[in-house]
Amino acid sequence: MSDNLKTIIYAGVMTLIVALVLATMTSVLRPIQKVEEDRDKKVSILAAVEFNEGMDADKEYEQRIQEVVVNAEGEKVENTKAFDIDLYKEGKKPIEERAYPLYIYTADTEKKKYIVPMNGMGLWDQIGGFLALNGDFNTIDGVIFNHVGETPGLGAEITEIWFQKQFKDKKLKNTSGTYVFDVKKGTGNSLDEYSVDGITGSTITGDGLEAMMKEDLGGYESYFKKLVNQELIESGSGNKVTFDRDILQAAKDFFGLGKKRLENQIYFQDRSSIITEQSYDQIKTLVAFLKTNPTKRVKILVNDRKDESLSMRRAESIFAYALQQGATEGQLTYSGIEDRKSGDRVEFELIN
């Protein structure tokens, strides 16, 4: 056998053996590594809010963190696990298709903090982190950053405590509602509530960080607006329902001024009992009224000039939707009638 052939065979055999050994080892170790990586991620998420060296990350996470996934419209997305979302991949999708994971943290004081995961570009490679916001969705409670390949001593300093500590109690938007937060060059920005000191020599990393914060937080705008607008009502029957503030306001006047009977604009699809979407708010207001007045009872009355069974089905439809929205069954009754003299209409009657 020629020397060259021997060399090639030697190299080939060596490669095969090495590949076999490394591949086996990796597949055995991978599950163990995943457990560690997951725990590390949980530690990072919790670290945005609190940091205790000795804490049991898995337990704390289990007890305090609620995972939610929303889209750009502010609606909740089901069937997706927040923890497993790859932000880098999501970032490549168009905004309408992105899934935004959110971690809601409940402190011992029952106060909630909202932890947003971030992913962006530094100077050389990806940077990321978790940002915890207070209930006003504007004040930063804490932050933690990580990076893949920033320069040690320069861009890599974003992982240092001194840099991250600066973010506490800073605000993202000013009083007019404009996003103004930035990472400023130089020092002395500790008094400015809308900025932090950048790292000398890491302007590009700082800019990347700033852009990442703005873009990633922007995705949650719609959802945060909804949360701010909502209030949690707990009725006598014990179940809690959230309502938008404007609906709660409308509910106050629902049977206002001593009225007992209310004709409402509930619209149905042609000759059917399917409620049109524009009517949903009306029924929600009814439910809000029932929830804030747990002793009242209301009767739903639907009239159709020609078809009693249709009006019955329509009344039942309204009743069903109201229950779906959280109304207590005991507070509602419904009936449908056929009356040629009065027009097609829906009425809510306060019984007591």
């Binding site: 030697y10 080892m25 990796t26 170790l29 560690e36 590390d40």
Partner: protein, 230 residues
């Protein structure tokens, strides 16, 4: 008459204590101890400086790094020594690199699985063991022309010599740069209250450079024969 002679002879034989064969021969012990001082990889052979500067801000990473380097160096030496008569000369360096890289990969993956926190701290530097001149240097200088057991010992010896310097530097840097050792607070609070503060320079690689320089100075002063050896 003859029985008394044999009895006496047997008594004499019993009295002479059986000389125990030492675990390591003199030469082998030298292989282990030389790199600690006379042939120290960092201060005499001047190899492996990069990681000496990078991982010595604290003692714990320096210690773990040392263990990893001892492992890689010893087993790379062993493997190459076992293969030394089979390696085709044209791919000699490539084979050496493959062996080193595979071992470092094993170490790196093991660390990620069982010491995750530490692997994050040491992240890039474990991978850089591949580029540590000391490992490759010992393969060429020793393992390629010596028997497996000796090569293994040489790897361990050099790893320990390397580690000794690393830990020396790390102790100074952690103690004076952070007031701690192995993350345990050593300098008590009242000293800080008196006005003492941690030396920030110690946290930079420059400090490691100075410390190694001072060590080399001290070593040459003790053993003038080492001056100008490298």
């Amino acid at each position: 008459m003859s029985t008394t002679t044999t009895e006496v002879v047997q008594d004499v034989i019993k009295e002479v204590p059986k000389k125990r064969k030492p675990f390591l021969s003199k030469k082998e012990r030298q292989i282990l101890t030389d790199p600690l001082d006379d042939a120290n990889p960092i201060t005499v052979q001047v190899l492996g400086l990069c990681s000496a500067l990078a991982v010595t801000t604290q003692v714990k990473p320096a210690f773990v790094m040392t263990l990893c380097v001892i492992f890689v160096c010893a087993f790379a030496n062993l493997v190459i020594s076992l293969l030394r008569n089979t390696i085709p000369s044209s791919i000699r360096m490539i084979v050496q690199l493959v062996v080193i890289a595979s071992l470092v990969t094993v170490v790196s993956e093991m660390l990620k699985a069982f010491q995750y926190e530490l692997s994050k701290q040491l992240s890039v530097y474990i991978g850089l063991i591949i580029t540590n001149c000391m490992v490759m240097g010992r393969l060429e200088a020793f393992a390629m022309s010596n028997k497996p057991w000796q090569s293994f010992l040489d790897g361990i010896g050099n790893g320990i010599g390397y580690g000794a310097i690393l830990i020396f530097v790390a102790v100074f840097r952690e103690l004076f740069g952070s007031g701690t050792l192995f993350k345990i607070q050593i300098i008590p609070q009242f000293v800080y209250d008196f006005g003492y503060s941690n030396n920030g320079l110690m946290l930079t690689p420059a400090a490691a450079m100075f410390l190694i320089g001072i060590f080399i100075w001290w070593q040459r002063a003790r053993k003038p024969k080492l001056i100008d050896i490298s």
